[in-house]
Structure formats: structure tokens, C-alpha cells
């Protein structure tokens, strides 16, 4: 996608993106620990959703940002994770750790199984095949009576007084996604992912087993999305295909990762914070036109900040470099 040399030249050097941005992201995560202390159910849900989207954005970032395989089907893993919790709950298991563990195992298997044929495709074709996976899974679940079909099913709740449990669970899952991305990016695994993104043939020549690494990236990203889903289902209390496989959960994480900065460790979190926050405010004050504003915002971001916000942290050459970047891809 973005050649490494160009990244270094514009100041986004290194495999994790700007270290300042990473520290800022961790500090913000620390602040988010305090949200349930405000005893506002509304705020708790808003920030829990931000953490949920952030986790999915990290999942997408790993396969789409680091490995360069742009997936539009991460919602399939989110939904699969959510339904894992629902099934456990239906069988009397009310434990968030069990939920997340099962979601991870199921999603890793699912990702390997689907990844074997699908990861052979490249570029647009991969994107479309993954889009199809999300839609097809929603269709299939809507027709399965075991999973409540299109009518949906209830998922257990802890009692009202302990509602914050879900918030902290989601916080932990999000922190896990951030740290996992950081350590993966700095490990051999991360370098292999980036090598595949930059040039798959050259990576193969260097002895990188592309298929194996692509499936690894896809499986880890699926586990992240699935964990978010596994915590979301019981927190939401109810699950049906339109909630589990919503267009929002598919598209928001991608937009967030791109807004924050693709292929960076801090990007998805910062993008999620800003985008979900903005969306919430717009929804609150301009309920009728908020999606319109949202669309306009995406258009503006693509044209004004094509490299994402994290890029601004490490920008060398100031406004001139930025102006140059605006016309870099002109027809």
C-alpha cells in the first residue's frame, strides 16, 4: 500500500508509527478507566462502544493495515463472537472469560477455514469476497433456528449494580488489542506482515511463507473482532442478525483505522475516539442529519488527511509537506 521509504520520508518511520502517538494513546486509555466512576449509564455505554469499535479497528488494522489485505468482512467475526456468548448463555454458562475464550477459539478456526481459499485472492477481489462472507453469514444465521433465526435471542445480564463489569471487560479487550498490535508489530511476525504488504513476491523470495503469515494475521484479527463481539452480546442483552452483523460494525472500524492512521499502533484507538465521539455528539444534537454529517466528514478526511491523524504527530516539513501530500495522487 504505502511504500516504506515514503513513510520514512514523511516522518512516519518505524513499524509502530509515531512513538509519541502511542504514549498519548496509552495515557488516554488510562483516563478511560475512570469513566464508570461518573455513575452515568449513558457515558458508560458511549465509551464502551468506543472501546468496542477500537478493538475491531485494531483487528482490521492488522490484516488491512499491516498485511495490506483490505478486509470488508470483519463483522462476520464480530458476529460469530457475539453468538458464541449467546450460545454459552443459552447453556447456562455466564462467564465473560469463557465467552471471550470460546470466541477466540471459534474465530481462529473460522478464520483459518475461510482464509485458505479467500486469502489466495488479492486486492479488490479479496475485499469483495470478505464483504460477501459477512453478508452470507448474516443470511445463514437469520435462517438457523438454533441461533434464534431472524427473531434473535436474549443473552444473560449481570445485575444492574454490577453493570460496569462489561465496561471493564471491554476495556481489557481493547487494551489487549493495543498491546498485541504493539508487540506483534515489533516482532518478526510484524515485519513479515509488512513485507507481504509491500511486495508479496519479494517477501516469498526472502523465505517468508506468505500463506502462513497471511492466515496468522487474519486469525489474530478475527480473534480481536470476536472478543469485542463476545463482550458486546451480554452487555447488550439481546442479539439478532441485524445487530450482530450491522453495517455500522463493519464500516466504522475501517473508517476509524484510516482516520487514525493505517498500519500504526496508536491510529485505530485515536480514530475510534474521535469518530465515535463525533458521531455520538452529532446524533445527540442533529438526530435527523447526523449520518449526512458523518458522510461529509469521511469525504473531508479522505481529501485533507489521506495519511490519517497519527501522521500529524510525526510530520516533518510542516505545512508544506502537508500541502504537497494533498496533490500527490491527483489524476
Amino acid at each position: 500500500m504505502i511504500p516504506g521509504a515514503v513513510l520514512r520520508r514523511i516522518g512516519l518511520g518505524g513499524i509502530t508509527g509515531s512513538p509519541i502517538a502511542f504514549v498519548v494513546a496509552l495515557a488516554l486509555m488510562g483516563l478511560l478507566l475512570a469513566v464508570p466512576l461518573g455513575h452515568s449509564g449513558y457515558l458508560e455505554i458511549v465509551f464502551r462502544n468506543i472501546l468496542m469499535y477500537a478493538t475491531m479497528a485494531y483487528g482490521w488494522n492488522l490484516i488491512g493495515g499491516y498485511t495490506g489485505y483490505v478486509s470488508f468482512g470483519q463483522v462476520a467475526f464480530f458476529g460469530a463472537g457475539a453468538y458464541c456468548s449467546a450460545l454459552l448463555s443459552a447453556h447456562g454458562v455466564d462467564n465473560l472469560f469463557a465467552d471471550v475464550a470460546l470466541a477466540c477459539v471459534v474465530n481462529a478456526l473460522f478464520a483459518v477455514l475461510v482464509g485458505l481459499p479467500v486469502l489466495r485472492l488479492k486486492g479488490h477481489y479479496f475485499a469483495i469476497a470478505t464483504l460477501g462472507i459477512g453478508l452470507a453469514l448474516a443470511d445463514i444465521v437469520a435462517n438457523l433456528d438454533v441461533l434464534g433465526a431472524s427473531g434473535g435471542l436474549a443473552v444473560h445480564h449481570v445485575d444492574e449494580a454490577h453493570f460496569y463489569v462489561y465496561y471493564y471487560a471491554m476495556w481489557l479487550v481493547a487494551l489487549g488489542a493495543i498491546l498485541a498490535t504493539y508487540f506483534i508489530a515489533r516482532s518478526k511476525l510484524g515485519f513479515a506482515f509488512v513485507a507481504i504488504r509491500e511486495n508479496e513476491e519479494a517477501a516469498a523470495v526472502l523465505g517468508i511463507d506468505a500463506t502462513r503469515y497471511k492466515i496468522t494475521a487474519w486469525a489474530i484479527s478475527a480473534m480481536m473482532a470476536g472478543s469485542a463481539g463476545a463482550v458486546f452480546a451480554p452487555a447488550n442483552g439481546f442479539l439478532d442478525p441485524s445487530i450482530a452483523f450491522s453495517v455500522d460494525s463493519n464500516v466504522f472500524p475501517i473508517v476509524m483505522a484510516i482516520l487514525g492512521g493505517v498500519g500504526t499502533v496508536a491510529g485505530p484507538f485515536i480514530g475510534a475516539l474521535i469518530l465515535a465521539g463525533a458521531n455520538e455528539l452529532l446524533q445527540r444534537y442533529f438526530i435527523k442529519v447526523h449520518t449526512l454529517f458523518f458522510g461529509a466528514m469521511i469525504v473531508l478526511v479522505v481529501l485533507i488527511l489521506p495519511r490519517g491523524l497519527v501522521w500529524l504527530f510525526g510530520l516533518r516539513g510542516g505545512a508544506r509537506t502537508w500541502l504537497k501530500s494533498l496533490t500527490a495522487f491527483r489524476a
Binding site: 479488490h124 464483504l131 452470507a136 448474516a138 473508517v255 435527523k288 449526512l292 469525504v299 479522505v302
Partner: protein, 297 residues
């Protein structure tokens, strides 16, 4: 046998519309390497335009075909010229996201103007049909198929014979060489995107005759356009036509599926997206260049 013949005819009739939907999408993708997520929104605008002309001025939907084309062409041309051209050569993600944002904008503007209510274009001949050897054919759908074939034919001739058409094909083959030969790429891109939008508008007009019109109506067609495109081969006019017909027939048969395993009842009509994906995956794995496609990068 009767039922099979009816399914086949239904499939062909639906496939003709899909061919027009996919044609514009395929041109934009094949020539500019842009996956135009706003295609469904253009289609929706075309349908609303037809509805409004019909409701306010009693313009026959078939007469509003050229109006849809011209209006949507102009809109598409301006969007490419002043927005998308800025990032036309960026990685696919960029234009993907940009057209997604544009689609959100258009769908929500339509929602503000026409609200979310279902609208319909009901002409005097809407319900009329004839029966041939036991197979029922609605007149509107037959006219739609004829219009679709005519549009595909005109596009094919225009792309291969006209000066602009040749410039467009030259740009898709080798951008540098085209520029050296005096092709103004920015203008060609704007024309191609305009064509894509115009064809989506025409498809919207045709669709408004047989389907309900609402702001979200474009999405299912967008996904089918993807599949038809891959099925037929990118950027190819004949490919879009054949892909559309094949897909229409497969879908017509698949939605008749009706099995019961134990207590679990499976009906094909609820699994439209799953069927689309199944077809897509098989084609991608067996013949990634599509039925009519040539082997290219």
C-alpha cells in the same frame, strides 16, 4: 418443466437489469481502478428522479430514461472532476472510503427530501402481462430487458468506435501512453465516472418500474453489481451482459430452493446474499478473470 421454463424466463428478465447495473460499475472499476461504492446511491437517485417526474408531470418512465442519464452523468462528472480526481491515483482504500462517504451523503439527502417511505411508479400498463406456452411474462419487464440490451449495445459501439470511447479504452490500457498521445486523463476520468453514474441512473429508472423506491434501495444492487462484474470480467461490456444474465438465472433457480433437515427449514429466498457469495467464491477460485475477461494484472 413449466416451472423450470418460468424460472429461466424470470432469471433472464432480472438479469437484463443487473447487466445495466453492473455495466457502469464495471467501467469505473476496470478503467480507473476505483470501486465505486456510490454506485447504488446513483441508482437510487435515478429511481427517485423517475418517480418524481412521473408523480409530478406524468412522464412515462421509459421517456425519463434519457433524462436520468443526462442528470446523473452531469452529477458524476462534477463529482469526479472536483473531488475524486484529487485522489484518483491513491491506493484503493482511499477512493473506496471517499465513495463510501459520498454514498452516505447522497442516501441521507434523499432521506431528507423524500423521507424513508416506500414509493412506487405505477403506470397504466404496470400489471399487464402475456402468456406464451404457459410462461407468464410481464410487459414492463420485457420492455426493461429490451432497453437493457439496447443500452449495452449502444455502449459497446460507442466505446469501440467513437473518439472518446477509444480514448477511454486507451487510458485503461496504458495511462502513460494515452497521455503521450494527447489524451487528457483527468477529463477522461470525469467522463468515465459520469458514464458510470449515468448508467446507474438509467438502471434506477428501469428498476423503479418493478421494485419499490426508497433511499436504501441501492445497496443490494451494489453487491450484485460486484458479483456480476467479477463473473463477467472487469471493464468489459459483453462481460457485464453475460454476467448479469448468468447471475439472474442462477438466482432465479436458487431462490426456489426449499429443503427441510430435521426441524430446520431452509428456504432459498432468505439466502440471497449467501447464494451471491457462493457464486462469487466459485468463480473467483475457478476462473478469477471472469467469463469474458482476459488475463491481466
Amino acid at each position: 418443466m413449466q416451472l423450470l421454463a418460468q424460472d429461466l424466463v424470470n432469471g433472464i428478465l432480472a438479469g437484463g437489469i443487473l447487466a445495466v447495473v453492473a455495466l457502469g460499475f464495471s467501467l469505473v472499476w476496470g478503467i480507473m481502478n476505483i470501486i465505486n461504492l456510490a454506485h447504488g446511491a446513483f441508482l437510487m437517485l435515478g429511481a427517485y428522479l423517475t418517480y418524481q417526474l412521473f408523480a409530478s408531470f406524468h412522464v412515462d418512465p421509459f421517456l425519463s430514461l434519457p433524462i436520468s442519464f443526462v442528470v446523473l452523468f452531469a452529477l458524476g462528472y462534477l463529482i469526479q472532476r472536483f473531488l475524486i480526481n484529487w485522489v484518483a491515483r491513491a491506493p484503493i482504500l482511499t477512493t473506496f472510503l471517499l465513495t463510501f462517504g459520498l454514498s452516505l451523503l447522497m442516501v441521507n439527502i434523499a432521506l431528507l427530501i423524500w423521507t424513508g417511505d416506500q414509493r412506487g411508479v405505477t403506470t397504466a400498463y404496470s400489471g399487464a402481462n402475456f402468456t406464451l406456452a404457459g410462461v407468464t411474462v410481464p410487459w414492463t419487464k420485457l420492455f426493461t430487458l429490451v432497453a437493457a440490451l439496447a443500452i449495452t449495445g449502444v455502449m459497446h459501439v460507442w466505446l469501440t468506435r467513437s473518439k472518446t470511447g477509444r480514448a477511454i479504452r486507451a487510458t485503461s490500457m496504458d495511462i502513460g501512453a494515452a497521455q503521450l498521445s494527447g489524451v487528457r486523463v483527468a477529463r477522461i476520468y470525469a467522463i468515465v465516472y459520469g458514464l458510470g453514474a449515468g448508467l446507474a441512473g438509467v438502471a434506477g429508472t428501469l428498476i423503479s418500474l418493478s421494485y419499490a423506491v426508497n433511499p436504501g434501495m441501492g445497496d443490494p444492487f451494489l453487491i450484485k453489481a460486484f458479483v456480476v462484474c467479477v463473473l463477467g470480467g472487469l471493464g468489459s461490456v459483453q462481460g457485464a451482459l453475460i454476467g448479469g444474465l448468468v447471475y439472474g438465472i442462477v438466482e432465479a433457480f436458487a431462490t426456489q430452493l426449499d429443503i427441510t433437515i430435521g426441524t430446520q427449514h431452509i428456504s432459498g429466498s432468505g439466502l440471497q446474499d449467501a447464494i451471491a457469495l457462493g457464486v462469487l467464491l466459485i468463480v473467483l477460485i475457478v476462473r478469477p478473470t471472469g467469463i469474458m475477461g482476459k488475463a491481466t494484472a
